[in-house]
């Protein structure tokens, strides 16, 4: 479809006549040297198309584009809020299901709090935290 053979020398001469008609009708050349049919054609092709652009087209399209862009910005923000709400709901659900157990663990740990201050105690706390983390994330 896209590749068309180049013009032959005879066709190139005809092309020159066509271009001469374009120049004449565009006021770039004198009136001689182009077939009348090509001049008629060049004139017809310079005429406006039958259907004109609707009035106020640019304003309407610009408003619509700007509205669409605003929605594009708002949607990610709404998604972030929705995800934060889901996360908060999971935390609440986790506390409701496992909260009592965590409280018991804490009570057991509290009397021996002074011993936790040393390195082994902190390591133990970190271990518990790491084990509970997937549950917290739901």
């Amino acid at each position: 479809m896209t590749n068309v053979p180049p013009l032959s020398p005879e066709q190139e001469r005809e092309w020159t006549l066509q271009q001469r008609a374009v120049d004449i009708e565009g006021g770039l050349a004198g009136a001689d040297g182009a077939p009348a049919a090509y001049r008629l054609l060049a004139r017809a092709l310079r005429e406006p198309l039958p259907i004109a652009l609707p009035a106020g087209f640019a304003r309407r399209v610009a408003r619509r584009a700007e509205r669409a862009a605003l929605l594009d910005v708002r949607w990610p923000q709404r998604w972030i809020v929705a995800l934060l709400l889901v996360l908060a709901a999971l935390v609440v659900a986790g506390l409701m299901l496992q909260g009592a157990e965590w409280l018991t663990d804490l009570r057991v740990a509290l009397p021996s709090l002074p011993r936790l201050v040393n390195g082994w105690g902190l390591l133990l706390l970190l271990g518990i935290g790491a084990a509970r983390w997937p549950l917290l994330r739901g």
Partner: protein
């Protein structure tokens, strides 16, 4: 190109009225491309609108490698092509009749161009003949004659080699000349 850059930067900075100015500057070209490709007035309006919505969405990707006009024209052309594909309308005739024998196309003396031009019926039929050309050919003719784009600019919009554009222009005009002479008796 500087005017293009200023306008694009104004749109990207969301300055009031900038995008409307961009649409107003380039709507004519898009309208011509789409009207010539699809012909249907409602489809032309919707596709033209779609073109500018895309322009607004992707303007940040414009790299000033071609004139803004060509970049927007290319989007309009792509939107029109996709529409034709959906409707299964061929861009070109599959049976491309070879150009007429050039020797036949000789004009008689004394033909009055202005009288012929004043003939409303002949003009109407000539416009109908242009309209009956395949979508690609009538689009190329309009871009070249009405929008006064150079062949390399048209090549950028349509993504076709410049030689192919020239060949299509040549064959379409030859075909219309033949029609004017043989059917409408322009030179008889």
């Amino acid at each position: 190109m500087n005017a293009d850059r200023a306008l694009v930067e104004a749109v990207l900075a969301r300055r009031v009225g900038a995008f409307e100015r961009l649409v107003a500057e380039h709507q004519g070209l898009c309208w011509h491309i789409l009207q010539r490709l699809v012909r249907h007035p409602e489809d032309t309006r919707e596709l033209c609108q779609e073109t500018f919505l895309r322009v607004h969405q992707y303007l940040h990707q414009y790299r000033y490698e071609s004139a803004l006009k060509s970049w927007i024209g290319r989007i309009a052309y792509a939107v029109g092509l996709r529409h034709l594909e959906k409707k299964q309308v061929p861009l070109l005739e599959t049976d491309t009749a070879e150009a007429a024998d050039l020797a036949v196309l000789q004009e008689s003396d004394g033909f009055d161009l202005e009288t012929a031009w004043a003939d409303a019926q002949l003009r109407e039929r000539l416009h109908a003949a242009i309209d009956a050309l395949p979508p690609l050919q009538r689009t190329l003719l309009t871009l070249y004659h009405l929008d006064e784009l150079a062949i390399p600019e048209i090549a950028q919009i349509c993504g076709l080699p410049a030689g192919t554009i020239k060949s299509h222009l040549f064959r379409s005009r030859l075909r219309l000349r033949e029609l004017l002479q043989n059917r409408f008796g322009v030179s008889a």
